[in-house]
Subunit: 347 residues, 2 copies
Amino acid sequence: MTAGEDPASAGGRAGTLRELGERGLIERVRRRLGPPGPGVVVGIGDDAAVVAVGDRTLLLTTDTLIEGVHFRRQTATLRDIGAKALAVNVSDIAAMGGEPRWALLALALPPDLPVTDVDELYAGLGETAAQQGVSLIGGDTCAAPAGLVLGITVVGEVQGAPLRRTGARPGDVLLVTGTLGGAAAGLAVLEGGMGSAPPDAVDAVCRAHRRPTPRVAEGRAILASGVATAMIDLSDGLATDLGHLLEESGVGAEVRLADLPIAPATRAVARARGVDVVHWAVSGGEDYELLFTADGPHAAALARDVSAKTGTPVRIVGEIGPATRGLRFLDATGRRHAVRAGFDHFA
Amino acid sequence: MTAGEDPASAGGRAGTLRELGERGLIERVRRRLGPPGPGVVVGIGDDAAVVAVGDRTLLLTTDTLIEGVHFRRQTATLRDIGAKALAVNVSDIAAMGGEPRWALLALALPPDLPVTDVDELYAGLGETAAQQGVSLIGGDTCAAPAGLVLGITVVGEVQGAPLRRTGARPGDVLLVTGTLGGAAAGLAVLEGGMGSAPPDAVDAVCRAHRRPTPRVAEGRAILASGVATAMIDLSDGLATDLGHLLEESGVGAEVRLADLPIAPATRAVARARGVDVVHWAVSGGEDYELLFTADGPHAAALARDVSAKTGTPVRIVGEIGPATRGLRFLDATGRRHAVRAGFDHFA
């Protein structure tokens, strides 16, 4: 869950969820639930909840994926759907610097689904589980006449205090792992066809969309460095998720669009479709890369260190400033670039 | 999750989920996932999964409740739906002798839902959370065009080894907390009207259906006694859930129908509708009472002790025998009574 939204409007008697918006709803819920109870280190408002169990610190995250909302069987196999559903939950553990341990699956399945399809779904879940060292320990199954529903909960463990969304300070530097826009490019191809894009590039972006890799080792290295100040994973797109981090930290930011890491395959697909690739990198979702901030003087060394340890490129893409500056995207000439508003589930 | 089903048919290439059945699916999944990983004390196949975290033992359970499958807004308020959704998950913690600690909520909500309805949903969740000492620590919200979906995960803690479904032995006695059939009577009234049933009785059974009370204190006392051997909560009805316990323990049982605890309100509603109340007590679901087994010579003292500590009646309703005897329901004259097959989500 994430927070934000003008308290006045969130507290008011907005008519429908569509009017209140996702962030208004979350803020409303957070205010109603009051302070967290015993053992709760971090409640609602971050990538995962954090609880203390004896001398251990656990991370807990849950997501429900609904057919027709989060995935469509026309553009993804059940194996891909299973693998991705678990991966995106693991990403929430990575985003706090933790390691995933156990997963619970609550599945609602159409009764006329072939059993071989169910086998494929579990095979995909099992692939991610094996890659990530996660044990599938339980769950629930029931019938779902209206389509597949996957409810996934992942429990992770973190060494020491987890990285939150709240610690960014003016003067910090903004960094990102991997590359951006690939999942959006893949979705565009899957929904609209490959057109004249090169087959290799098409394969790469489709894979980015279907099989995102949660950045667990990267998240652990970033936390262990001691110089990172805040972190979030990129599920709804850079503009939206950076917005959450800024709001939670009470700061602003400048992002240099020319510095955003974009894979050659993503650029090739964008060219073939006549799309501005920066739009996918900034507003496209589901890259599941880590966006984080670090103490300015240590940031370049941190980027090199994490990259050396994990093999994943890490790029400095901007700076944190005061909240009054808001969130600005700057083009190569230093001019402000208008960015489309982020994704809202209820809009 | 629960197990069972002929391994030959579960392992075969059954066509659809409807043909494989719920228990066939669960057994198939359990076989595919293989042995549990590090820290896993109990994986798939009980009321909750059990993991070791340092010197603590945690219980984890998750359920997804879907509008039109698990509830209908015509017969329950959103406040009731929220309260019950959390209560039924807490019941899975109670069924292993644990105490609930934290809950995660993944909600999918129709965008045109009035915000006041969402407030009611959270108010109901908050009521159960407060009653049960549970902290709501996080979750996720998204839009659900096809209706409400509530994904709930509850984490609990247990002192020592939890009570499982696997420990019942021939010679043990079968016990149940509270009364049976009330929730089924309530559902019958809510779906079919109250007819000539007395208003007080109608109120009582509707409340039993809408607001089940998880038996947490009872479960803890049963575990702490040291003489109970197996336990399960009654979500799908006595016949079905006892069937699960017997299969997991590898034993059979005889149940004396005349000894089943049935509330006067439930009897009154059954009379008014011309229904055999025993049918509701045996095959009706959602009572969320605890069904457990105990060493024969200690069972009567255990029943008195749990009842004295919690104020909840505890009744001896049958005996555990060898697996070859199967599950038999006996009427007041000692004759076998045919019982309708249990609930299967995919049938």
